[in-house]
């Protein structure tokens, strides 16, 4: 089995978020980590590798320093890393990003593509499903459990109060939730191997069947009006009332805020 895992280097939001004057993230100024949902997706791939045997390729688009996140993935147990980096790809929104990643994946053999549900720097949850559209393969999003049976995957898809069990023939794409698993640590020996590993670097010219008009800032229909760091909510109000008083109190508050 061949698995491609799309991973993203994201700002470590614990260290605070910094913006460029144009509202885009100042990635160079921030500490970075592997996006948590993507890390869970990688862990899921590594567990499938251990259980069924697989070759795991990690793929990322980003600045040259995004190579670090690929090496981290290799130190955890991934077999190969591919970095797609090119000035013309900069400023990509989800549409241009998914076009770019699909263009890279068209060069690869794969049975399964795993992406994180969403990245903590954008929270769109669009890139994974968009890639599946571009590649014309099925997608199962919000995976909380993944099994392989013959040439199919059986996935538990999470909802707020339930889950659906879905079966899809491979090749297909799955988007993973951070709750899917507890990702393993790198090993010291894995780190030493990862630092020696050859990372494949692709540019615009290496992307297959993608129009220039779908790439980079120019190919991005999204325009950012305003971006800000998360604003901390104020302390909540705590009241102790019996059931009927509570109903009146809540209704009163909802009316006060013109919600009802």
């Amino acid at each position: 089995m061949k698995i491609v895992v799309c991973i993203k280097q994201v700002p470590d939001t614990k260290g605070g978020v910094k913006f460029n004057p144009d509202g885009t993230l100042d990635r160079a100024a921030m500490m970075t980590i592997m996006n948590p949902d993507d890390k869970a997706g990688l862990e899921a791939a590594l567990r499938l590798k251990e259980k069924y045997g697989a070759e795991v390729t990690v793929l990322t688009m980003g600045l040259p320093k995004a190579e670090d996140v690929l090496r981290e993935a290799i130190a955890m147990g991934a077999d190969k890393g591919i970095l797609v980096t090119d000035r013309v790809l900069g400023g990509a929104d989800t549409w241009a990003t998914s076009q770019t990643l699909a263009g890279a994946i068209r060069n690869l053999e794969y049975d399964l593509i795993i992406t994180g549900r969403q990245a903590i720097d954008g929270d769109t949850a669009q890139v994974g499903p968009q890639i599946s559209e571009h590649l014309n393969i099925p997608v199962i999003s919000y995976a909380q459990k993944i099994e392989v049976e013959g040439d199919s995957v059986i996935v538990e898809r999470q909802y707020d109060d339930r889950y659906h069990v879905l079966k899809a023939k491979m090749p297909c794409l799955i988007t993973a939730l951070a709750e899917l698993n507890e990702p393993r640590y790198m090993t010291p020996g894995g780190i030493f191997d990862a630092c020696k590993a050859e990372i494949t670097v692709w540019g615009r010219a290496d992307l297959k069947d993608v129009e220039d008009s779908n790439l980079g800032l120019k190919g991005s229909p999204t325009q950012i009006a305003k971006a800000s760091d998360k604003v901390r909510k104020g302390a909540g109000e705590k009241v102790t009332l019996d059931a009927s008083e509570s109903v009146d109190y809540i209704l009163g508050k909802l009316k006060e805020k013109h919600i009802v």
């Binding site: 090496r71 981290e72 130190a75 393993r184 640590y185 790198m186 090993t187 010291p188 020996g189 894995g190 780190i191 030493f192 990862a194 630092c195």
Partner: protein, 384 residues
């Protein structure tokens, strides 16, 4: 000369740091209070390869260098001195001599499971009458057919009751030199837990590193297969001294970690603690104390990393190891003492980590050669 760390060392440090913060730090206070060996943490470290960092891959290890191992002990010790010494004693004092002096069979049988973390290692040299004076040994091993018969006891053994494989030193012969002076010839043996005649004595009640299992080992007609002799018969003293050179780098790393942990805690505390309407970090006394502490920690780090590099590149590194151990241990004691002082009354309570760190720091000036022994080694190396 370039002091920049290589990429793999930066990544390894971030790994050890993350592991220490997530897995070790939350338990540090409890491990100290209860004096219970952190077996769960050791199992996790085994799973992640932390128990065979400098051991070659062909012997089940991670194939990394001594600097990576030093960083592991350092980062663990930043949050828990107990966890740091468990890894140090296992790696430096048990894996290392088997890797250096063991036969291929011994390496396959003992080093592989040790490096994989399936087994834990310990080292027994110290006796009630033989601490700094290793020649004062009383434990004897007598060859009887295909077995050595071991009698005697060892004290203050780190990983004492929790280990599976022990490197034990014993007198195998006494010779007389030309001047008529007798000399005890010591040999090293690999002893497995569970060997008949090998039992445990009392557990030490210690000031610091309280979760570390420190026991007396007792050997009563304990029969060791002849093939478990490590190195040549009578060459054990050299093996012990060479092993301790490596061990001192591990303890130096532990001391460095404890000092760094105390410094980090104090830097955070002085910015929160207010007196006379200002955070105490606004007072020049605090600033100057911290400046001295940080400078000494940095100097200790340079010595410790240099010793680790010397172990990687040189055959003999006694001087570098002794300097690193001496300085890092004394810095650990000084920095943790100042850290408690800067915390004031709170620093004297067990609610704050610096109290434990100060108690943990003291042992680094004592075990694997006291600071006085390190001065003996250093002076013997420079006055020739």
């Amino acid at each position: 000369m370039d002091f920049t760390l290589r990429k793999e060392h930066e990544m390894a440090r971030s790994l050890f740091k993350e592991f220490a913060e997530k897995e070790v730090k939350p338990l540090a206070q409890e491990v100290d209070e209860t004096e219970i060996f952190p077996r769960g943490t050791v199992d996790k470290m085994a799973k992640n390869g932390f128990l065979g960092i400098p051991v070659p891959k062909e012997y089940g290890g991670q194939g990394c260098d001594p600097l990576t191992y030093v960083m592991c002990v350092e980062e663990l010790s930043k949050v828990c001195g107990t966890t740091g010494v468990i890894v140090s004693a296992h790696t430096s004092l048990c894996c290392d001599p088997i890797q250096t002096y063991g036969t291929e069979e011994q390496k396959q049988k003992y080093l592989v499971p040790l490096a994989k973390g399936e087994k834990l290692g310990a080292f027994g040299l110290t006796e009630p009458g033989a601490g700094t004076d290793a020649q004062g040994q009383q434990t004897k091993a007598v060859l009887d057919g295909d077995e050595y018969v071991l009698n005697g006891s060892k004290i203050f053994i780190t990983n004492g009751k929790e280990a599976d494989v022990y490197i034990i030193f014993a007198i195998t012969s006494v010779t007389t030199d030309a001047k008529g002076r007798s000399k005890k010839n010591i040999s090293a043996f690999i002893v497995e837990k569970g060997t008949p005649g090998f039992t445990f004595g009392t557990k030490e009640k210690k000031m610091g590193i309280r979760g570390s299992s420190t026991y007396e080992l007792i050997f009563t007609d304990c029969r060791i297969p002849k093939e478990n002799l490590l190195g040549k018969e009578g060459k054990g003293f050299g093996i012990a001294m060479h092993t301790l050179d490596g061990g001192r780098i591990g303890i130096a790393a532990q001391a460095l970690g404890i000092a760094e942990g105390a410094l980090e805690s104090t830097i955070a505390y002085v910015q929160e603690r207010k007196q006379f309407g200002r955070p105490i970090s606004a007072f020049q006394n605090t600033q100057f104390q911290l400046a001295d502490m940080a400078t000494k920690v940095e100097a200790a780090k340079m010595l410790v990393y240099k010793a680790a590099m010397a172990k990687a590149n040189q055959k003999v590194y006694s001087l570098e190891a002794a300097m690193a151990k001496l300085y890092a241990a004394e810095v650990a004691m000084e920095v943790t003492t100042k850290a408690v002082q800067l915390h004031g009354g709170y620093g004297y309570t067990r609610e704050y980590d610096v109290e434990r760190m100060m108690r943990d720091a003291k042992i680094t000036e004592i075990y694997e050669g006291t600071s006085e022994v390190q001065r003996m080694v250093i002076s013997a190396n420079i006055i020739k």
